[in-house]
């Protein structure tokens, strides 16, 4: 279970203060698939960065699996991310010098797994995502959809408690986006907790619960049906 209490994030640039998040409460149960939607600049990515411990809130705290993360040092937060969290970034964020399987086995190696085991597991994960024929390709020689699937494989290969996906379909064509969503749904069916940021309502509609943000505040929350999300609509 993950929860965020009274999360605020303020950026100070010169004399100006920008309130990207204001007193946002958030929670997701184990195995839940939550989508965060909102217009550009609404604060959805900022919320995800706080929840995923990539950033530290100005006020408020995040509790994951019963651990109050606000007490953790930067090093402990890094270890925590490695142990419990997985990330899928908007622009794939694969290390260009590493092959697909090497990108995926990196978190496993860092967790102290033997190289042989890590390699075997990363290959199995990539194969489960339909990339068994692209194991030794470097990111530059993979399509956008393939790169994003490698990114997912890297995020889930160490079986994280929570998978965060930040606009995972933003750089993909429709077909690749649909495939990616199918993979996320499959993982969710197997019990994976997923928190996804998206501006595409069609994809948000495939989550169990949707949180809508506007100007750094939660404006609506509920199931896709309750929020009456329209198929194919995009939040701009």
């Amino acid at each position: 279970m993950i929860s965020g209490q009274k999360l605020s994030r303020t950026f100070v640039i010169g004399q100006n203060e920008t309130h990207a998040l204001s007193n946002v409460d958030f929670s997701a149960k184990d195995g839940e698939f939550v989508a965060i939607i909102g217009k550009s600049g609404a604060g959805k990515s900022t919320l995800m960065y706080q929840l995923s411990l990539l950033d530290t809130p100005t006020h408020g705290s995040v509790t994951i699996n019963g651990i109050n993360t606000s007490t953790l040092s930067p090093n402990e937060r890094t270890k925590f991310r490695l142990a419990y969290l997985g990330y899928v970034f908007q622009d794939y964020a694969l290390v260009p010098e590493l092959t697909a399987e090497e990108n995926v086995l990196l978190p496993l190696l860092m967790r102290g797994e033997q190289y042989g085991y890590a390699l075997k597991k990363s290959r199995a994960t990539l194969e489960s995502l339909g990339l068994g024929h692209r194991l030794d390709r470097r990111p530059g020689r993979l399509s956008g959809g393939e790169q994003q699937r490698v990114s997912i494989a890297r995020a889930i290969t160490h079986e994280p408690l929570i998978l965060f996906a930040d606009e995972p379909t933003a750089n993909l064509d429709t077909e690749s986006s649909k495939q990616l969503l199918s993979h996320l749904e499959d993982m969710h069916k197997r019990g994976q907790t997923i928190i996804m940021v998206t501006h595409e309502l069609d994809y948000a509609a495939r989550a169990q619960r949707v949180l809508e943000l506007s100007d750094g505040k939660v404006t609506r929350e509920g199931t896709p049906q309750e929020l009456n999300l329209l198929s194919g609509a995009v939040v701009r």
């Binding site: 960065y49 990539l54 950033d55 090093n75 890094t78 270890k79 991310r81 490695l82 142990a83 969290l85 997985g86 990330y87 970034f89 964020a93 290390v95 260009p96 010098e97 590493l98 090497e102 990196l106 978190p107 190696l109 860092m110 967790r111 102290g112 470097r138 890297r154 995020a155």
Partner: protein, 423 residues
């Protein structure tokens, strides 16, 4: 403790994994260029110092090979010759560690050339120089020094050359252009006659050969047979000796033999000096100065190499700061990423040093040994010691580790999210 060890090993393993993949898959040109710079830096660090020190070492080696031997026994400053020379000779002959010696009689003399021309042409002033004349036993001298092999004109003395001498090249103006206060002989060649005056005795000799060893002590001398010098001086027996040049058994400590001789009390009868002691502090001080100079030049090259590594790592890290942020984001610790860049630096400097060492031992040392640098006062060798190479290699590696770590740390310490978002 065990947990720390496991964590440390994990960090090293992942850092090595990242660095090795980076090296294997980055541009060969970039890697080649950095390694090339590191090789040049290493060679600069070792060779410049080696040549500067080698000039003096070459001079010392020449002094040892062509004049002093491994140990030189000479008269005490206040005496006219070595006291109880026959006793010393006996001690020297009985010492198994002394494989050869050359006993020399040395007398100050005046050498005149072109004096016949001045008889027929009174306006011509004969050349006249002051020099030391060494009376030698040819076989003994041959067994200790290589003077006979350093002939540049004519030939060396034989046992029957009673009326001949060999001149050191620095007595002749074509080999040693006159400097203020130092006279030389002009237009003298093998076959010419010169006149030698020792005390009240004057005698003519034919010039049989001219030697040039680059050891002034030899090149400013006139060599004649020992018995001829005794004849000129008169009243001298085997007891009269001014120098013993000793050759020590290879592998035997010279200072040990020196101490053995001191133990016999020779120290109170004569000076017993090693090459370094005989050549004087002067060259030792020059050697220290040259070594310092070499280290300064090498130090500058180390700074240049450090800056090169710093820039390379800084540019590499700054262009990859997004990936660094992502690696931190997915759980790689900062120290792991920093260590990967340090390993990269060690690879650059290590490979550079390896290539440098190969060039040094495979090409440069054999080349300089076969073709010493021709300096006026010595045959310059490349003076390189294994300890020196190891120390300089370590200096280069440590410097590049620091130069690689600092920029990596600068980038890695940046906020993870800022790095990911390129802020």
């Amino acid at each position: 403790m065990k947990e720390h060890g496991r964590n440390g090993w994990r960090i090293v393993r992942v850092a090595f994994f990242l660095a090795s993949r980076y090296i294997a898959r980055t541009s060969m040109w970039q890697t080649g260029l950095v390694v090339f710079v590191m090789s040049l830096t290493f060679l600069n660090l070792v060779v410049v110092n080696g040549i500067l020190v080698g000039l003096i070492d070459g001079a010392m080696y020449g002094f040892q090979q062509n004049y002093a031997g491994d140990l030189l026994i000479s008269k005490l400053p206040e005496k006219e010759s070595i006291e109880r020379a026959s006793t010393i000779r006996g001690i020297v002959e009985q010492n198994d560690d002394i494989v050869a010696y050359s006993a020399r009689i040395v007398e100050p003399a005046t050498i005149e050339a072109n004096y016949l021309a001045s008889v027929s042409h009174p306006n011509i002033v004969p050349d006249r120089v002051a020099a030391s004349v060494a009376g030698i036993n040819i076989a003994q001298e041959e067994s200790v020094t290589g003077v006979a092999k350093k002939l540049i004109e004519g030939s060396f003395l034989t046992e029957t050359d009673d009326d001949s001498v060999v001149l050191g090249a620095n007595l002749i103006d074509r080999y040693f252009p006159a400097v203020i206060g130092l006279q030389t002989l002009s237009e003298v060649y093998p076959g010419d006659k010169i006149r030698i005056t020792i005390g009240k005795a004057t005698r003519e000799f034919f010039i049989k050969g001219i030697v040039k060893t680059k050891a002034d002590a030899t090149d400013l001398r006139v060599f004649m047979l020992e018995n001829q010098l005794k004849k000129m001086r008169g009243g001298l027996g085997t007891a009269n000796t001014d120098e013993f040049a000793l050759r020590i058994r290879p592998g035997k400590s010279i200072s040990e033999v020196q101490n053995d001789l001191f133990a016999y009390g020779i120290g109170s009868l004569a000076l017993v000096r090693t090459t370094e002691e005989a050549i004087g502090e002067f060259l030792g001080e020059i050697k220290d100065t040259f070594s310092l100079l070499g280290n300064i030049i090498g130090g500058i090259s180390v700074i240049v190499a450090s800056i090169t590594i710093f820039i390379i790592i800084f540019i590499t890290a700054i262009t990859r700061q997004k990936y660094i942020g992502i690696l931190k984001g997915i759980g790689l610790s900062g120290i792991t990423i920093e260590l990967s860049y340090v390993i990269l630096s060690i690879f650059y400097s290590g490979l550079g040093i390896l290539i440098g060492v190969s060039l040094l031992y495979g090409v440069m040392l054999p080349y300089f040994k076969a073709h010493p640098i021709n300096f006026p006062f010595s045959d310059g060798i490349l003076s390189v010691t294994t300890v020196g190479v190891i120390v300089r290699s370590l200096i280069l590696i440590v410097t590049t580790i620091i130069a690689g770590y600092l920029p990596a740390r600068l980038i890695v310490q940046k906020n993870t999210l800022d790095a990911i978002l390129g802020r």
